[in-house]
Symmetry: C2
């Protein structure tokens, strides 16, 4: 098995590390980052928060810009940040920033040529946790969070797998992808025109049908340029109200779609997950 440590930096008493490995699910080499808090080096198996990034991102954006290590070090939580799509010369791509590499949308593609590599749902939900739990001093307690396209991914994976994650959170998620331009373009491309197949990747639809409910926290800036057209938190809120789903949705006055917004509230999200991971 190829598994290579390509960078290591001490951070808040723990370590930020990047690795490459050959992914079976994605059929290509992938890079991910992990933050291991100090507790992981003191004989403790720490729980893991999986972070899913947004369009155009890699494993680096969150680790460099969210300022999350401080609270993760205090709370004893590892953070794993995968890439946002398969990568490499053999991987199908599209000139748009919102399709192809950097835009995997956390689905298992069924349509050629995308289905050969674009299996991000299985990669994030199945393959990566198995690898993380084999290679690092972590427990099997997992939570999931993400931003924008990654907020969509976190909600979808969490809502469909309540036995895998203790808690879900998201910043400015694409909440109703079936009904927004980014989502409809990606779902049609990766899954084909039958909208019935899209429903398994639509957080608002999934929340309305969730039988097992795990706690969910969403933060959304009201000055977010993508709010009305792409993100649609009102659809998620309506689903939560209809099902009495334990969703907290905070609208944040004046905040935009950037990592400055995420940095401002990431500590709240880490404390939210810590409360559920440590139960």
């Amino acid at each position: 098995m190829s598994f290579e440590n390509i960078s290591s930096s001490k951070s808040f008493g723990g370590w930020h590390k990047q690795f490459t490995h050959q992914s079976g699910a994605l059929n290509c080499e992938m890079r991910f980052a992990i933050y291991l808090p100090p507790q992981a080096f003191a004989g403790e198996k720490v729980p893991v928060l999986y972070w899913l990034s947004g369009l155009t991102c890699t494993d680096e954006n969150f680790m460099q810009k969210a300022g999350a290590h401080r609270a993760a070090a205090e709370l004893g939580i590892a953070i794993v940040a995968p890439d946002t799509s398969p990568r490499g010369e053999a991987v199908a791509d599209d000139p748009g920033y919102d399709l192809g590499t950097g835009a995997g949308f956390y689905v298992n593609a069924t349509q050629a040529p995308w289905n050969r590599h674009y299996q991000m749902y299985d990669y994030v939900c199945l393959e990566l946790p198995k690898l993380i739990e084999e290679m690092f001093p972590v427990s099997r307690k997992r939570a999931i969070s993400g931003h924008s396209m990654g907020g969509h991914g976190a909600l979808v994976l969490g809502l469909r797998n309540p036995e895998v994650y203790t808690s879900i959170s998201a910043f400015a998620p694409i909440s109703n992808p079936m009904n927004c331009p980014w989502g409809a373009k990606a779902l049609e491309t990766y899954l084909g025109p039958d909208r019935a197949t899209w429903e398994q990747y639509d957080a608002s639809r999934l929340m309305r049908n969730a039988d097992v409910q795990i706690p969910a926290l969403v933060d959304q800036g009201d000055a977010d340029q993508f709010l009305a057209e792409q993100l649609m938190p009102e659809a998620l809120l309506a689903a939560a109200r209809e099902k009495n789903y334990p969703l907290t949705l905070n609208m944040r006055e004046g905040y935009d779609h950037s990592y400055y917004f995420i940095a401002s509230f990431i500590e709240d999200h880490l404390r939210f997950h810590a409360a559920h991971l440590n139960k």
Copy 2:
């Protein structure tokens, strides 16, 4: 006067903003970033920490990666991050990453063709504070900090202008540029071969000759790849001991030269400056 606000993002209840303006000192258009804490929007004139970045950086690296806004918001300190050199097609440059654009070394160049634009010492010490204090709700209390080449800049500006700044700090500064490859290359290029002219830009030399002493804090990772050849904190420490200069130098076990190191200790530096700015 050209003065344009090119971005604004709310962050920790305050605002991160980028501006462009025409610099008289540098004879070109420049960009800088400012973080204004919430207190600045509540009728308070807040003190300013000037942050000088390292080789290859712009105004963005520190603002995006240091995680400094949280503590700045709590303490009520504005942060101003200038660019690291003049910019533009008319500006002399060099193919090396350690000379020319991105590598102004915070000196006033005397040698052609560099002297036409490379006047970063005057820009940071004189022109920029004047502009900041005219355009924003800030007091005239100023502190200075920086990283690597910017740590050198912070030490040099602070040691030469103890009436301008309340306190100096640095992360992994180039402490003795006359005697390291990065420093000697830049000083010879910008100032010419007469080493006597270099002394006014050498922190260890300046500390040894400082008549007025303001407090200085330096953090240095002991796993920093540039430590032995380029940074030479031992020269600064020797100068401080000789003159009984109020320097605290913390060697940090396992930390490297990256922004993960800066993020880990920036709160300490902000609290250090706050104690002196609020006197």
